[in-house]
């Protein structure tokens, strides 16, 4: 064996950052710092010490919170369960809407004159917070869980459709061509070539959204869309802080359990 001769010529210098890149960095980080300083007063950050001043209100509040009152636990657990049900149905309806939208918004499946309008609708659904949609539905269908379900369904449908379509756009086109080459129709290509490839990812996305929707459903209760959030809001208004404390503990336990369960399921899928 002969050893290879070293390549001729001088060793090039290590790469350096250009002056323009430096200037850009300074501009971006300097801009962020300036914005933070400028906004300091606007968000009342000067009042932060008040939190630690040990006023009677805060002391009383903390004292109550430390002694949660679980005497109404049947009601709280029942309402928590309603919140989970809101999240469940909201997510299910969102998947139901998200699958066709996700396919129609994928450039490698649908023609561009379908993709663009569907994406426009998706973006609109996503950009309106579920709290805002919830307020609209409380007006439309009245106080109660249905408003929460519909709010979650619409907002999540927009989110899932986007994630679903991105999954579809990243599939391997080989298997789809394999199906196409048997003389299959477009529908068959989707059912047998596309869906099997995206199914684990889609399921994982849907489960993940279910997790975060159980949190959203709690918040939605605050605007009267049913579930534990509504009870939380009422207890808060009645200064029943010991109830509030119990409710928060129940929410934390329930949401953690759902997270663990759904994570375990997602891990199995991927």
């Amino acid at each position: 064996m002969t050893t290879a001769a070293p390549p001729a010529g001088a060793v090039p210098a290590p790469p350096t950052k250009s002056l323009g890149a430096w200037a850009l960095d300074v501009l971006i980080w300097g801009g962020v710092a300036a914005l933070l300083i400028y906004s300091f007063d606007a968000v009342d950050l000067g009042n932060l010490p008040r939190l630690f001043a040990g006023s009677d209100v805060v002391n009383n509040f903390i004292g109550e919170l430390l002694r949660p009152d679980f005497s109404k636990w049947r009601l709280f657990v029942g309402e928590m369960w309603e919140t989970v049900q809101i999240a469940l149905w909201g997510t299910f309806l969102a998947v139901f809407l998200g699958v066709p939208m996700g396919l129609a918004a994928a450039r490698n499946i649908a023609p561009v004159w379908v993709v663009q309008p569907v994406r426009w609708i998706m973006n609109m659904l996503r950009s309106i917070p579920d709290l805002v949609i919830g307020l609209l539905f409380v007006v439309a269908v009245g106080l109660g869980p249905l408003a929460g379900v519909l709010a979650i369904a619409l907002n999540t449908a927009g989110v899932l459709a986007k994630l679903f379509s991105e999954a579809v756009e990243s599939i391997d086109k080989g298997p789809v061509e394999g199906v196409r080459a048997t003389g299959a129709s477009k529908m068959h290509e989707i059912v047998w070539g596309v869906i099997p490839q995206v199914a684990p990812l889609w399921t994982s996305f849907a489960l993940y959204r279910f997790e975060s929707n159980s949190r959203s459903a709690t918040v939605l209760g605050l605007i009267g869309a049913g579930g534990i959030g509504q009870v939380l809001f009422e207890s808060m208004n009645a200064f029943a802080f010991r109830d509030v404390s119990a409710i928060v503990i129940i929410v934390v336990i329930a949401v953690t359990l759902i997270d663990l369960l759904s994570q375990a399921m997602r891990k199995r899928l991927l």
Partner: protein
């Protein structure tokens, strides 16, 4: 079972990708029951030609392609009868193109999609007779034991044999194989080529196979068509491929195009 119309009849076909001509006025006629090897260096247009015949790839206006007498490409468009034609052609790909998460059995069942009602195929309600046909096909190619396994857990050779089983279930009258052995080890490669020869000899299927390896083309196929820069530069019996012709196709280092040994 042989039909009188040609398996594929390719007339004056060109295909341009940007500024590059992948196919340049190719004409080719493959008779039923023929076994034809398409050879040529990388980028010579072999795969493009095969993909054009199944209509997976539209060709430039001016050329026409007919499969079993049905026009599948004309005036730069894939025609409406392409699905019917595809159902009669079994396509084998270099990367197998099985659906990895489906079982080998399900993959082979997909061969039935072209002839059962659309909704039935979409729901996967395969007729019992087709299920038997699928198992028989898997048995024939020697991978029936893996029917229940996910396709992506199988070796390349096993997957490629599954792809051949899919073509059998399809009831294909001809097989188009695009570099079917390029991703396989020599033992699996020989097995796959022998299966193609068997389908040709025993079942009378027409076979068009693109090959990198000239020795495989000579050993397994009677007729060889060579492409170079999108043009047909040789079309004749495999025995007529002498050194001068090979140098003409591949350049002076033509021996690199042999996989096992130069005969």
């Amino acid at each position: 079972m042989t039909t009188s119309a040609a398996v594929a009849s390719v007339r004056n076909v060109s295909k341009t990708f940007g500024a590059r001509k992948a196919l340049d006025g190719v004409s080719l006629e493959v008779a039923p029951g023929e076994m034809v090897a398409l050879i040529g260096p990388s980028g010579s247009g072999k795969s493009t030609l095969l993909r054009s015949i199944t209509g997976l790839q539209p060709i430039d206006a001016g050329g026409t392609i007919a499969v079993f007498g049905e026009t599948v490409q004309k005036d730069g468009r894939v025609t409406g009868s392409v699905r019917k034609a595809r159902a009669r052609l079994g396509m084998i790909f270099q990367q197998f193109n099985l659906v990895g998460r489906l079982s080998l059995f399900s993959n082979v069942m997909l061969g039935a999609l072209g002839r059962i009602p659309g909704w039935q195929g979409a729901l996967g309600l395969w007729p019992g007779a087709d299920k038997k046909k699928a198992m028989a096909a898997l048995h024939r190619v020697g991978v029936a034991d893996y029917a229940a396994q996910r396709a992506n857990t199988l070796s390349g050779g096993q997957q490629q044999r599954g792809a051949i089983a899919r073509a059998i279930v399809q009831g294909a009258q001809a097989i188009l194989a695009d570099e079917p052995v390029a991703s396989l080890d020599p033992v699996s490669a020989r097995k796959v080529m022998e299966l193609l020869v068997e389908l040709n000899k025993r079942d009378g299927l027409g076979v068009i196979v693109t090959l990198h390896q000239v020795d495989y083309a000579i050993r397994y196929c009677e007729r060889v068509v060579a492409l170079k820069a999108g043009k047909v530069v040789y079309d004749g019996p495999a025995t007529g491929l002498d050194t001068r012709t090979l140098v003409d196709i591949y350049g002076p280092e033509f021996e690199d195009a042999f996989w096992e040994t130069k005969q």
